[in-house]
């Protein structure tokens, strides 16, 4: 099996499911949401981030790069030779493979925290479910055997069989729903949403525990029409879901685009104010879904 690339393992993660968790961010995602705050998680191949403020101008990277990528970023293969010689940490390779046993050993270090808090491991990304299935299944089997509960944070845009394979190991699915109108979905994320919504219905029909998470992006999907359509869809099609979260947009990831040498196209996005978020909760309540939480 091929090891997927891992961007980061976030310990003391307290907003990705119940309790204290460790969240594994896998690299690569079938969507390319324009508001994405983890742009380094979109491609499946390794990349190099450049933190300009750390650079001391020592020039070690220019000698190390054999691809001419420092002159032309497009020729970067993500080999990381520049990062290896960069002592200041200005050049950082993102996306490292890791064997299942090594990853499990690392994740198991926080077992006492998971047990105390009712937490566990959250597989996220990028898109966890879009990674090598043999690897994912082995990982989940190991974790479950070690007594660690697994959450799968998914955009839902994967073959249904992938989700069904992971279902027996998954404690809770954190399932993103962004837009109900497929054309609008395609406009903002690059793909239509039919498969996503079908997968959500499928998982519900198989008895999965699901938290629906709706990133609320001012200027993209925060209009009343979409919120009302979403609420109506959830009540009609997947009444068994556990909770609904509204996750307001934040611009924390915008700086990463520059580090990747990309342009951020999300200047027009904004965080709906608290009154607007409260109004969305009311819309959900009117559509028969109460107890919507704001923030993770």
């Amino acid at each position: 099996m091929d090891s997927p690339l891992i961007i980061n393992i976030q310990r003391y993660s307290i907003h990705d499911g119940d309790g204290i968790r460790s969240t594994v961010f896998f690299k690569g995602c079938p969507l390319s949401c324009r508001w994405c705050h983890n742009p380094e998680s979109q491609r499946f191949s390794p990349e190099v981030l450049f933190h300009a403020e750390r650079c001391t101008g020592c020039g070690a990277c220019t000698n190390a790069c054999t691809h001419g990528a420092l002159e032309n970023r497009l020729s970067c293969t993500g080999c990381g030779a520049c990062a290896d010689v960069c002592l200041s940490g200005a050049r950082e390779r993102v996306g490292e493979p890791m064997s299942v046993p090594a990853l499990c050993a690392l994740l198991a270090r926080d077992l006492p925290f998971y047990e105390e808090s009712g937490g566990g491991v959250t597989l996220s990304g990028g898109e966890a479910a879009a990674q090598d299935m043999n690897y994912l299944e082995a990982l989940c089997r190991h974790l479950v055997r070690a007594g660690i509960r697994v959450n799968l944070d998914t955009c839902g845009y994967v073959e249904p069989q992938r989700l069904l394979t992971l279902l027996p190991y998954t404690d809770v699915f954190l399932f993103d729903v962004k837009l109900i109108d497929s054309a609008r979905h395609r406009e903002w994320t690059g793909v239509g949403n039919e498969r996503i919504l079908e997968n959500l219905i499928l998982l519900t029909s198989r008895g999965a525990k699901i938290d629906v998470r709706i990133p609320v992006i001012g200027g993209a999907n925060a209009d009343e029409e979409n919120i009302r359509q979403t609420a109506a869809f959830l009540r009609r099609e997947v009444p068994g879901i556990r909770r609904v979260y509204l996750l307001p947009y934040h611009a924390a990831g915008s700086g990463k685009y520059a580090q990747l040498g990309r342009r951020y196209e999300g200047e027009a996005f904004f965080r709906p104010d608290n009154a607007a978020l409260e109004a969305m909760r009311v819309v959900f309540a009117e559509e028969g879904i109460s107890g919507v939480r704001i923030g993770a």
Binding site: Q10, S13, I20, T56, R109, D110, F113, G119
Partner: protein, 792 residues
């Protein structure tokens, strides 16, 4: 930004008075002490001399009752008056000027004070004081080490007595104690006991001290009566009559009510902290458990309700805040640069029978600390497996407000630490922590802190063939220069030999100092309220307590671990640079070598990240230090043990050091407590906790972990629950203590720029909280730089 603190107008006024008063020197104690010594010295035994001086003070000190006060008694003449103790440390006129003029931790001194010091105090005490005796008894090598910052010495200008007294003060009065003392005198075996003469003198001294504290109580009763007679406000008149009645009951008799129990504690506190200056960490200990029977009885009989009880607690809180720590100078000021008095309250925990100790008063104390937001008393909680989640989360709610209290102590760890040190299970369950985090068997133990020990400095000396590169003095053993160590094991072996060498010097010095205190500075009042001193006829300072421990506090475990890891990883394992190149970089404070600096800063395993490479080194250093100290005999019939805490000493210990191999620059603070070196921990709080838990806390007498959060991480229900879970998990892994600074970096930077606009800003320093504006620039910087755990 002035917030209102205090439940009603009375408390707000008293609190404001306490905050506004200017810390100042209170000379009356020194004057009375001198008078008594001049009158009695040479004609009575040393303990009786001390007791008579104590009596003279209690009989003659100026007393007053502030408007609105319900708990009476002040250590000085008024709020923020700080007595001096010339018998311990006879301040020079220059010391007095420094105290008056220094920017931080200053004490106002008047011309009159200076004249008295010059004409009366100095001529009598200059050559008699303990500090003089101690310094002349120390060896040249001890003095060299002391001056070079290898270790500090707590008792150089402060008396022992950082402790918690017996809970028996709630069950009997000082007349009862006096009867017990008389019986002990009557029972002395003058026929067979070769020490019966000394014991008789000691016991008579204790009896005089009973008279002294009773005398103070009577004087307050008379004053309150007098004030009541002149009072026109009928409500206040009734209060004054009640105060007078309270002072007729306590301290002579056992307290009958909740109010009297608080007044009893306060009289005892005044007694202990004016007899000697135990710097002044005499503490109420398990206050909720002591007060609860009174609270239940008084509320059942209808003479007390929750509101009134809270008001009385808040009055007591103001009293603590009125007492600044005794004025310190020199190295002792550096190791403990604070007005804070370290009066530590442990709320929660378990009962002597092993049941959950949380009761109604526990919640009242939490409300009180939340409401009062005062540095003193240092209000902390003990959390056991049996502690209700509601109590823990209420404590977290207060803690996340960001001013450092309460800190959290692990009851099960304390219990095992005490059992491991030979205490009975019941004594252990009555125990807790005082000072910052120091474990003690409350009421039964003299657990005396002797000084801080600079673990990273010893590596510096090891790398220089035993020479301190700052002073050029040969302090350590000549075991070879840095380049002579062919392997890491050889280097580490040399480090261990040097550590042993310095521990020997420190312990020899402290054992001598213990004897000086036992002989010249007994504490007969403290001995009354410490179990077994009466029974043994022995002073607290001479081994009279049931248990007698001497603690040595290791400092800088994060810095030493990362420094050794940097050498092992880079010089020996991966040969990225040579030892010579490293030594050259250190000598030049890394200014000549960015490559080495970057490698050790950014590309080397560090403690605090749950990385076994570094953490294994931490364990080796800790284990060696722990083994080398623990079990040595002290001179009071007890043993040496360790704890791991710094107060403010990590700043001083950094000042005396050049750059260290982990990239810490010259003269910057070393790591504090068992926290990682600042900026070293990059994997979040669970990784920090896991690293810290690899230390064997149960073999210590306390460790200190400072966890800094930005407010966002602990916001909301989720933040609160997970903070509680983090604490529970650390404690399940045997962690001893954890405290939180919840503050964002920007606020601290602003506060540093505009101290006057942030007069209220309190931060957790190390085992205690302090006003940010009162900290030195170096310490402020250090707190700003401590890793900010920002995980949103």
């Amino acid at each position: 930004m002035a917030e209102q603190h205090g439940m009603n107008e009375r408390i707000r006024r008293l609190r404001q008075q306490s905050m506004d008063a200017v810390p100042h020197i209170y000379m009356e104690r020194a004057k009375l002490e001198t008078e008594a010594y001049q009158k009695y010295e040479g004609s009575v035994s040393v303990p009786e001399m001390r007791a008579l001086a104590f009596y003279h003070f209690m009989e003659n000190k100026t007393i007053r009752i502030e408007p609105g006060e319900l708990i009476v008694g002040e250590k000085g003449d008024a709020p923020q008056g700080a007595p001096t103790f010339p018998e311990l440390c006879c301040h020079t006129l220059e010391d007095m000027h420094v105290m008056d003029e220094r920017d931080l931790i200053s004490f106002h001194v008047t011309e009159e004070d200076l004249a008295l010091q010059r004409d009366v105090i100095i001529p009598y005490w200059e050559n008699r004081c303990i500090r003089r005796r101690i310094l002349s008894a120390m060896t040249p090598e001890w003095k060299d080490c002391y001056e070079s910052g290898i270790f500090t010495e707590f008792m150089e200008q402060r008396g022992p007595g950082h402790t918690v007294g017996s809970e028996k003060i709630y069950l009997k009065g000082f007349l009862d104690y006096q009867a017990e003392i008389k019986e002990a005198i009557d029972n002395l075996d003058r026929l067979h006991d070769p020490h019966s003469l000394d014991k008789a003198a000691q016991l008579r001294a204790m009896s005089i001290c009973c008279d002294a504290i009773i005398c103070l109580g009577s004087r307050y009763a008379a004053l309150a009566d007098e004030m009541a007679a002149a009072e026109t406000d009928t409500v206040r008149q009734q209060e004054l009559r009640a105060i007078a009645e309270n002072c007729r009951v306590v301290p002579a008799h056992k307290p009958q009510t909740f109010w009297q129990a608080l007044q009893m504690y306060w009289f005892v506190h005044l007694g202990v902290t004016t007899e000697l200056n135990p710097w002044d960490a005499y503490s109420p200990g398990r206050l909720d458990q002591h007060l609860n029977p009174f609270y239940q009885r008084d509320t059942a009989s209808g003479i007390l309700d929750e509101t009134k009880a809270l008001e009385l607690l808040e009055c007591l809180w103001v009293k603590f805040n009125n007492q600044p720590a005794p004025p310190k100078v020199g190295i002792t000021l550096k190791e403990s640069g604070t007005y804070t008095d370290f009066a530590n309250i442990n709320t929660g925990g378990i009962t002597p029978m092993g049941e959950d100790g949380v009761n109604d008063v526990s919640y009242l104390i939490l409300d009180c600390m939340d409401d009062m937001k005062l540095l003193q008393p240092s209000s902390n909680v003990q959390i056991s497996r049996k502690t209700p989640q509601r109590f823990l989360e209420r404590a977290c709610e207060i803690s996340r407000k960001g001013w450092g209290q309460p800190a959290f102590y692990n009851t099960e760890a304390i219990l095992q630490e005490l059992l491991n040190a030979g205490k009975s299970i019941e004594d252990a369950r009555r125990g807790g922590t005082s000072g910052c985090v120091e474990t003690g068997a409350f009421g039964n133990e003299a657990y005396i802190l002797t000084g801080y020990f600079n673990l990273p400095k010893i590596l510096e000396i090891t790398l220089h063939n035993g020479v301190d590169p700052r002073t050029g003095k040969q302090l350590g053993l000549p075991l070879g220069c840095a380049r002579d160590f062919a392997t890491y094991d050889e280097l580490f072996d040399a480090y261990k030999k040097q550590v042993s060498h310095f521990i020997d010097i420190k312990v020899a010095g402290s054992n001598t100092i213990e004897q000086i205190y036992a002989e010249y500075m007994p504490a007969p009042f403290l001995s009354i309220i410490t179990n077994d001193c009466i029974k043994k006829g022995l002073d607290y300072n001479a081994g009279g307590a049931r248990y007698n421990t001497s603690y040595l506090q290791g400092v800088g475990i994060g810095t030493i671990t990362d420094s050794l890891a940097a050498i092992k990883y880079n010089v020996y394992d991966h040969r990225r640079f040579t030892m010579d190149a490293l030594m050259d970089a250190l000598e030049h404070n890394f200014e000549n070598n960015d490559v080495i600096y970057s490698l050790v800063r950014n590309k080397t395993p560090k403690y605090g990240n749950d990385d076994d490479y570094a953490d294994d080194i931490m364990k080796e250093v800790f284990d060696f230090y722990q083994r080398t100290v623990t079990g040595r005999a002290n001179t009071r019939g007890g043993m040496w043990r360790i704890n791991m805490l710094p107060t403010t000493c990590h700043v001083y210990f950094g000042e005396v050091m050049l750059a260290s191999p982990n990239g810490r620059l010259a003269h910057k603070p070393v790591s504090e407590g068992i926290s990682p070196e600042k900026g070293a921990d990059i994997h979040g709080p669970t990784a920090v906790v896991r690293s810290c838990a690899k230390m064997d806390h149960l073999r210590t007498g306390g460790t200190l972990l400072n966890q800094k959060f930005t407010p966002g991480v602990v916001a909301g229900e989720t933040g609160l629950h997970q903070m509680a879970n983090l604490i529970r998990t650390y404690f399940s892994l045997d962690g001893h203590h954890i405290q939180f600074n919840v503050i964002d970096r920007q606020t601290l930077i602003e506060a540093q720029k505009h101290p006057d606009e942030y007069r209220d800003l309190i931060v957790r320093v190390a085992g205690y909280s302090d006003h940010f504006r009162n900290l030195s620039k170096a310490l402020q910087d250090e707190i700003i730089e401590r890793t900010e755990q920002s995980f949103a």
